[in-house]
């Protein structure tokens, strides 16, 4: 039962292991000559200052939510597109329902000005 998850576990271990390997490989194999400028969080950006937790304009949250909307859409669309031919009319109708609901939300958001930044 639990052994069904062995491939997933293998992938997890591989992923974690790989990121450590890459992290230390560059340090071991590459040259390491730090300067104050190189160690700054952003080499050519502004210096971050102040506490990390502070009030953020609510507009950012709106963008984040809208992003999720389209992100989920892609997550659903991609596997469907891969086996589009096999699913045939059934897949088309089901995706059509999903897309309809999504499109209604998108049109509403567009018309009320949810996509305007200012």
């Amino acid at each position: 039962m639990l052994s069904d998850y062995a491939p997933a576990a293998a992938l997890l271990i591989l992923a974690v292991g790989m990121s450590f390997v890459i992290l230390f490989m560059s340090r071991l194999l590459g040259p390491y000559r730090p300067t104050a400028r190189k160690l700054a969080p952003y080499e050519s950006g502004m210096q971050p200052y102040g506490p990390a937790i502070r009030r953020i304009p609510v507009k950012f949250y709106r963008v984040a939510v809208l992003f999720i909307l389209f992100d989920i859409e892609i997550i659903f669309f991609l596997p469907w597109a891969v086996i589009f031919r096999d699913l045939g009319v059934y897949g088309l109708v089901v995706m059509g329902m999903f897309f309809f609901i999504l499109a209604v939300g998108f049109l509403y958001e567009w018309k009320v000005g949810g996509l305007e930044w200012e």
């Binding site: 096999d86 699913l87 045939g88 009319v89 059934y90 897949g91 109708v93 309809f100 609901i101 209604v104 049109l107 509403y108 018309k111 009320v112």
Partner: protein
């Protein structure tokens, strides 16, 4: 290669009443964008049209004129389309129609006429309908969110008024918390049974009862957590804390609708999960279901607290909030009865009868509050009822009728509802709980009749604004309350046909 399902497997036709509402609401959402601000009444009319179509389809299905679809399952068992579904649909849609009617002028005079109001109201209604049709715990959860999220927004619809925003915030935070409990419960039930489909759970429970101690504990905790989540929605003690604050702060037209709709959805889901999903979940052979004791205990607490605290309330909306808590207790009695063998259908019928009666009565009572409320949300005290009988005799008569019905006086719908709830509970041998129910009904007469006293025997201005849609809503509610009380067979004949597709 996997098997591609065919479209006919989905049995979409069985979901026609709710699907037509969802489709209508989506169209309404877009149509509203093109309705100019000064003609927002048009949106209300379109909403009524959408609800009307769906109600007609539900009635056709409930009256057995036509059965939509093939069999009583759709979307591979996710959606159950039995007579209980139809009954829940009808109650939800009638409530929503009344909800649109009472909001029509109220929004205008309080300066909150925005088209989204009706769209959100219709989406909530769809959520209630999905809860009644849930054949899967995941559907219960998604439907609960569809029911709740628009209600959070509607509670705060009177922005920038502080009380309204506060109530929305409270409702949202506590509601989100309760949803968490529900999902945790679902996860544990899945852990115990290995499925989220209620039909499969119904079958799996038998094996677990036969001897799998670990799964029994998981199932017990899971059912308990789901009871917390749904108990919050129906405002059962001890998860009732939000009710008075939210009902007092939210726009009255929203409260009129949600005090009924959220309860209908919550109880429908409770019946689906407990009565249809795990009626056989017993810890000793031959005993009633393991969750029965908990449910009737919650019911007793809810009836006691709701009725006792309502006595000292001086604000009509708060008073009706505690009264709605008390009524949740009565319905919970019927839910508890479902735990005894062979009583699932009878308790489903009792819940449907009670909710139908409650829908007319409670929306009616809140409509009268809307009539006396001033534009700035003031004048909702009990004393605002003073002298109403002299200045508005019909309004006062309707309010008196609603109060009598909420008390449960014979010849009103409320009596019929209480009768069937108590009958179901007695069949399940829950005598103590029934005695508490009868005694608390007597106690409730004090605060309900106090309002009647103020209307008829005290001097006052008795000012009220009654535009025709509100008058129509109050009339429909009053006629419904009276007719179901005088001719209970109208309701009971319909209810006799109600069965759960599985369970019991």
């Amino acid at each position: 290669m996997f098997e591609v399902p065919s479209l006919s497997d989905l049995n979409i036709a069985a979901t026609l009443p709710v699907m037509s509402l969802v489709l209508g609401t989506c169209i309404l959402l877009l149509a509203d964008l093109f309705v100019p601000q000064e003609r927002k009444q048009l949106t209300a009319w379109l909403a009524v049209a959408g609800l009307g179509v769906s109600l007609a389809l539900s009635l056709l299905s409930l009256g057995d004129v036509t059965r939509f679809g093939d069999g009583d399952e759709a979307f591979a068992g996710m959606f159950v389309a039995d007579t209980f579904t139809d009954a829940v649909n009808v109650i939800a849609l009638v409530t929503a129609l009344l909800g649109v009617m009472v909001a029509y002028n109220y929004l205008e005079r309080t300066g909150t006429q925005r088209g989204e109001y009706y769209v959100l109201l219709l989406f909530t209604t769809a959520g209630v309908m999905f809860m009644g049709a849930a054949g899967d715990l995941v559907v219960v959860f998604v439907a609960l969110e569809l029911l709740s999220i628009p209600l959070y927004i509607l509670s705060g619809f009177r922005r920038p008024q502080e009380a309204s925003e506060e109530s929305a915030m409270k409702y949202f935070l506590l509601g989100a918390f309760a949803s968490g409990f529900l999902v945790y419960g679902i996860a544990l039930i899945y852990g115990a049974t290995g499925t989220t489909g209620l039909h499969d759970i119904w079958i799996a429970v038998d094996d677990i009862v036969a001897g799998d101690a670990t799964s029994q504990y998981l199932l017990l905790i899971g059912a308990g957590l789901m009871l917390v989540g749904l108990g919050f929605k129906v405002a059962a003690v001890p998860f009732h804390m939000w009710t008075p604050d939210v009902y007092q702060g939210a726009p009255t037209s929203v409260v009129a609708y949600m005090s009924v709709a959220a309860k209908v959805g919550g109880f429908a889901a409770l019946l689906r999960v407990l009565a249809a999903g795990m009626p056989h979940f017993v810890l000793d052979a031959g005993a009633p279901a393991a969750w029965q004791d908990t449910v009737w205990l919650v019911a007793v607490l809810t009836m006691l607290l709701g009725n006792l605290v309502a006595i000292v309330q001086n604000d009509l909306k708060r008073l009706l909030a505690y009264s709605s808590i008390a009524h949740a207790g009565y319905v919970l009695l019927a839910v508890a009865a479902a735990g005894s063998a062979g009583l699932a259908d009878e308790s489903a019928q009792a819940v449907v009868i009670y909710m139908m009666a409650y829908a007319f009565t409670n929306v009616g009572a809140f409509s009268v509050v809307i009539a006396v409320e001033k534009d700035d949300a003031s004048n909702t005290g009990v004393t605002s009822m003073r002298g109403l009988a002299r200045s508005q005799p019909w309004l006062a008569a309707a309010m008196a009728l609603f109060m009598l019905s909420l008390t449960g006086i014979p010849l009103t719908a409320g009596f019929v509802g209480k009768w069937f709830v108590f009958k179901a509970a007695i069949s399940a041998d829950l005598f103590f709980a029934v005695v508490v129910g009868a005694v608390t009904s007597l106690i409730s007469a004090y605060y309900y009749l106090r309002i009647v006293w103020y209307m008829y025997f005290e001097e006052g201005d008795g000012e009220a604004v009654i535009p025709w849609p509100l008058a129509a809503a109050i009339s429909i509610a009053a006629v419904g309350t009276l007719f179901l009380g005088v001719m209970p067979y109208l309701l009971t004949d319909m209810a006799r046909e109600i069965t759960l597709a599985f369970g019991g």
